[in-house]
Amino acid sequence: MKYYDLGIYSSLSDGQDEPEIMIEMAIELGFAGIGLADFTNHTPKIIKGFRNKYKERCPIFTRATLAPKTTDEMKKWVKNLRNQVDIIAIKSGIEDKTIYVNAIVDKRIDIISLSEIADFESLEYAHFKMARNNGKLIEIVVRNLILQSGVQRSKLLRQMIKTCTQIIRSKVPFLISSGAQSKWEMRAPRELVALASLVKIPEKRAFEAVSTHAEKLIQKIHMIRDPNYIMAGVRIVSPTEEGENGD
């Protein structure tokens, strides 16, 4: 089984460590691929260089995590970024649920990310059901579980358990990611699964979250990267391929 952590932040975005340090740690921890934010300030040449360097050992997927304050802001950012990064994730953290609702129905957005207590409070069962119907992934970030302690962690745990129960009930596919901003905040796949047990996620579902669901998103990324891809369900078929299908 291959494992992926699609929410890692290096010094290119909010993180402290250089991308190489994060990637090397991911390899040591046993990940088959990672999602690294945020490459938007870098030229495609640098991104290509990174990808080629780690192509065999640990494929890199670029990601942008957006925290828009309004729906219009979200739409504007998504429009600009969609062709530049592999994964677009939305986190809001404010009480305005319309941003999440619009993100769920927007086909260009891949992930709804939940990390702070406010994020977990914002969404309910109906939103998760809607997310499932719209093919969205929910991301549960465990970083704050590791960093916080005492009453703060207790409050976060309570809210996370409540939300994760609804996620499980709604059967929406979800990811578990570390949200690491330094290499010391990264966790191995089995440790991510162990942390998920704290918020009452069954082991089987947690393993799916770090492998199967992440793999499906990666397949989608590969499909979009394919030069023959035009849009969802539409791709250019070569004459030989057409012939084979015809036989």
Binding site: G150, L195, S197, L198
Partner: protein, 113 residues
Amino acid sequence: MEIKENQRYILFKIIAEEEIDQNQLIKVLWRQLFQLYGEFGTSQTGLWMIEYDKNRGYGIIRTNTDALPMVRTTLAIIRQVNGKRCILVTLGTSGTIKALKKKHFQKINKDAQ
């Protein structure tokens, strides 16, 4: 008649900034267990450090079978020992030390070479 509890052994690897002392690691392990699961929860674990090689960064912990998920979660949540940042990675679990070593130590020795 005394009923013997079923026990599991956990082999873990420690990735740290600097070498970490066994006593300090045990202290942090107990403290984190206590913070997460309280007095009652901690009493169920029967935690015991069997082996620890600080040079190579490997160790074996014994725990009750029922408390295995609790201990694994605690290992995952530890982020520093005595101010030294670290990551604890569970390599495997087994019912006997012999089986655990047989299964994983060959690979560890190979990596060390």
